[in-house]
Symmetry: C2
Subunit: 225 residues, 2 copies
DNA sequence: GGTTGTCAAGAGCACTGCTCTCGCTGTGTG
DNA sequence: CACACAGCGAGAGCAGTGCTCTTGACAACC
């Protein structure tokens, strides 16, 4: 491996890297992912374009880093919004709202991670764990407070093989599929709002999300508030 | 207005325009929207780049045309899939499946219309009607076969002001919000599949969509099959 | 103190969207 | 039937992009 001198050299490098990432995120937020130009980032940071390549291998790698940071940002925001002591449905709603408000504040970053993948660019594997955070958070709430619907004796044969084996270990089997559907619904709804699909359709988007969240909460067996 | 000679000139113009749009869609499908270059379209069609501007005002206008065509394509596919004589849930499922299979066949076009909006580009108003086709189709099924849930006396005050007034005229008021949620769920699920979010999560995506569709069908009051 | 390696800078290649000007050619009209 | 004009394709050119390679300087380590 490479030597790692803990001296000032490494510190300077870290600072420059941060400056580049910060400026890149700024441009991303202002003009969208496609308008993100390595040259203009360099210009703004105060170096020549070729120097940036010392810190970032390519434009794609820059985007990848921004993607991971964005996933972590939503995940963190959602986790912070959840109060484990609150009633289940309140926790659930808080997470939904947190995702929405993060998206409203960072539409370009939201589009980067939940919109169409950047063309000609396959999300590298390192983004996968970060991508699951919000989903796991929802799953944790379901695992703790979700009650499988009564009745319906044993007709659970249909869900075999649909989902990955062993996904969401703590969640009651009949609730796994509804949980995935709810997770999808959350990002589908926020995405539709952000991408303009609710133009002339939904007026009060916050209330709409609450309503959808509540229906989803019922589908994963959260007790009524 | 401009003169419009119905001679061979106009025919040639129409043909060239079609050739440009076809080639553009071909490139879109192969490499994604960002890689769509007016110059390479021109090259492939056999003219110089500046000549293309006689037919298409800008790259953005080209994208807009592709967007409208894509919306129409999904809409048409979905409408064709619905057999009005079939049982309600079969109609419903057919539409969901049609949207999914169209998306699988045309992922880049799907991303273009349901993914993040192309950066620095606001969807012009002319795309709005085309964008609503699938939604209206779902609404038609709900209007015809959806039965509002019994009981629940008159607690419909909460949904006031959330959605646009007079949206989906034929649909029973308590079913309007679930219908919008179902419409969102459809594209959220297909989008999540196409954009790779179900990697290592959902194995049998077709069966998963069917299951979600069925739950959604219940939420909009379609009678059990 | 010398050597080594990391760094910023610059030039350069191939590409992009878009504009403008130049001639040719087919078209509808006088 | 001839002509003037609109429509068209070609080319040059501007400003910008991602990325590579080479060059020279400076600082960090042995």
């Amino acid at each position: 491996m490479t030597r790692m001198p803990p001296g000032t050299r490494a510190r300077a490098r870290a600072e420059t890297t941060r400056a580049i990432l910060d400026e890149a995120r700024r441009q991303l937020a202002e003009q969208g992912a496609a308008a993100l130009s390595l040259r203009s980032v360099a210009r703004e940071v105060g170096m020549v374009s070729s120097a940036v390549y010392r810190y970032v291998a390519s434009r794609d790698e820059l985007l990848t880093r921004l993607i991971v940071e964005a996933y972590d940002a939503v995940g963190e925001r959602a986790e912070a919004a959840r109060d484990p002591e609150a009633p289940p449905r309140a926790q659930w709603r808080a997470v939904w709202r947190a995702v929405r408000s993060w998206g409203l504040e960072h539409p370009a970053e939201y589009a980067l991670i939940y919109g169409s993948p950047v063309p000609g660019y396959a999300a590298p594997a390192e983004t996968i764990p970060a991508a699951g955070r919000v989903g796991l958070l929802l799953a944790a709430i379901v695992a703790e407070h979700g009650q499988a619907p009564p009745g319906d004796g044993e007709s659970d044969g249909e869900s075999d093989g649909v989902l990955l084996e062993g996904l969401l270990p703590g969640v009651a089997p009949p609730l796994v599929l509804p949980a995935i559907a709810a997770w999808t619904q959350l990002f589908g709804t926020v995405g539709f709002e952000l991408f303009g699909q609710y133009e002339n359709v939904v007026v009060d988007r916050a209330a709409f999300l609450d309503a959808v969240a509540d229906t989803a909460a019922s589908s994963v067996g959260l007790p009524p508030s």
